[in-house]
Symmetry: C3
Subunit: 117 residues, 3 copies
């Protein structure tokens, strides 16, 4: 079931790092991906700002979520490529999660499994 060897790598990164991550993924042989605009917060406390003299709290930051499903490339290599593209060293660089995938299908061809990814 979960032994298909197919993985979904989910990464939440800074929006301005999307270009670098797309390039590092392509170089790692994993060019296919799905991108979603999201917002979120990590473990840092909410940031206070000022707008027209009013104080407000920024508690959700704009981020980009990348989903990348791979079969023939180790998920560790994909994680490494994303880290390389997304790293600045400042708080808020993001997270990478690896989830098991039981099956994959390419809609055009009907191919299943590793071939479909």
């Amino acid at each position: 079931m979960s032994n298909s060897g197919i993985k979904m790598i989910v990464a939440v990164i800074r929006p301005d790092k999307l270009g670098d991550v797309k390039q590092s993924l392509a170089e790692a042989g994993a060019p296919s991906l799905t991108v979603t605009n999201v917002s979120g917060r990590g473990s840092q406390p909410a940031k206070k700002g000022q707008w027209r003299g009013e104080e407000y709290v920024v508690d959700l930051h704009q981020k980009v979520k990348i989903e990348c499903v791979v079969a023939d490339i180790p998920s560790e290599d994909v994680v490494e490529a994303i880290k390389e593209g997304a790293h600045t060293g400042e708080k808020g660089d993001g997270k990478i999660f690896v989830l098991p995938v039981e099956s994959a299908t390419q809609i055009r061809t009907g191919k299943e499994g590793a071939e479909a990814v």
Copy 2:
């Protein structure tokens, strides 16, 4: 743990196929779904375009992501319904991934497991 029998089917499809996929899912007995606007790329190379005389590269295409959690219906039937609704035969038709789900809760009733899906 992963033996709940509950699955999340994640499909990335053409936006103009959403109506057909909603209908084929309802006919398959799986009407419930969550829809997200996404962009992405598969294995095809970036497409070149022209805008006001400038060449540019379209490397992310607008797509729609569907998430559909099922318990009593085999995930294969859901995959089949999505393929049926989303297929055109042209490159870019999309992908379907099946992920294991450990538990499900319906917030209104507090029901858990297959009943909650």
Copy 3:
């Protein structure tokens, strides 16, 4: 593999309950989350409306998706916190799904596993 003990809790809730859910998650010790604007339908039939004298069918409702990855807190506690924040008792309150996560990485520090969540 799936025995990392790390879980992704995915919840689809009413948009106007996001504030309450963020607060109940923070109180449960799980402040980190990713938020996506989505639309969807559950098991209820499509709702009919009127617009400029024309009848139309609302079949997708605006919702908010929350993704919350935890390692040191039981996923049951996170589910409980989301239920508490999101519950109104009316149809459409939403669903909560728990998915297994095989690994987690914090991009800034390179930390892996429970420490990275």
